[in-house]
């Protein structure tokens, strides 16, 4: 077993087990902890798939930003650190059965499809996702230049960059931040339940 396969097995098992632990945990704080483990090992899987920039972004934005936001939400809303959110036994059984059925369907679909053959790093694919070192090609494609598609022979020249979606996402983030701060500002103190 090569080193890459060993590392992939370790992080894949860690990802799946901690995702399962997120589902099975009964308190929100433990769910957040297992979610950190799951997202961190997903970032390790990204690094193993030669997607270095995506892995770094996953660590920075997801684990460093979104999950801190979630933990703040838990702190601000939970009435106790170990608030139970348990479901009844019947719901658990039904959810488990449905999940296993759904998982079986998805596995059957994955196994039944003949995917396109993997690329063998040829000289034309100077910056495909298979090679790694993706920082410069990703930045260029966000600016509208596609060195991997424009310069490669045999590919249609109309392959374009992602300048417009990049700008749309930027404005979208600005609007979302303004809207979130507008929604979350404290207008009045909470009225007791039942009034």
């Amino acid at each position: 077993m090569s080193g890459e396969n060993f590392l992939f097995s370790v992080f894949a098992i860690l990802t799946c087990v901690s995702a399962l632990a997120v589902v099975l945990s009964q308190t929100v704080v433990r769910m957040a902890f297992w979610l950190v483990i799951s997202l961190g090992s997903t970032a390790a899987l990204f690094f193993l798939a030669n997607a270095d920039f995506v892995g770094a972004a996953q660590l920075l934005i997801y684990v460093g930003g979104t999950l801190v936001l979630l933990v703040f939400g838990v702190m601000l809303t939970a009435s106790g650190p170990y608030m139970k959110i348990g479901t009844s036994a019947g719901e658990t059984v039904v959810a488990g059965l449905l999940g296993l059925l759904f998982l079986f369907v998805v596995f059957a679909c994955i196994g039944g499809v003949e995917w396109r053959k993997p690329v063998t790093g040829s000289a034309d694919n100077i910056a495909t996702g298979a090679v790694g070192n993706t920082l410069r090609p990703l930045g260029l494609s966000f600016l509208g230049v596609r060195p991997d598609a424009d310069l490669a022979t045999g590919k249609p020249p109309e392959a374009s960059g992602y300048l417009l979606p990049f700008e749309i996402v930027s404005v979208h983030l600005l609007v979302v931040l303004i809207g979130a701060s507008y929604l979350a500002r404290a207008k009045r103190r909470a009225a007791p339940v039942g009034q």
């Binding site: 959110i85 998982l103 996702g129």
Partner: protein
């Protein structure tokens, strides 16, 4: 387990199913949000795997970056809504959110 396209897709499928079950069974609003994060991560794993193991090129990684950014935005808005709901109801149990029911 050898690292290949199918192995990555299986990991993504497990993440997706766990997220869906988490969304369906958790009664805490933050828990539902964590399920959404798991689902988006499963999609990200698939994107990166296709970018690595097929001739898709960089498009998969670009899409996964967009997914990460949009997930951050969605978490911010959903947390603001959850805080607002908590301010009004002193709980974020999603079963209690029945004010709009006719």
């Amino acid at each position: 387990m050898a690292a290949g396209l199918n192995a990555y897709l299986l990991v993504g499928a497990v993440l997706f199913v766990c997220g869906v079950i988490c969304m369906a069974t958790k009664r805490n609003g933050i828990g539902v949000l964590m399920g959404v994060e798991l689902v988006l991560n499963g999609a990200n794993v698939n994107f990166v795997a296709f970018s690595r193991y097929t001739d898709l090129g960089l498009d998969g990684q670009i899409f996964s970056l967009f997914v990460i950014v949009l997930a951050a935005a969605e978490a911010a808005v959903a947390l603001a809504i959850a805080l607002n709901f908590y301010n009004n109801h002193l709980t974020i149990d999603v079963d209690r959110a029945n004010k709009l029911k006719g």
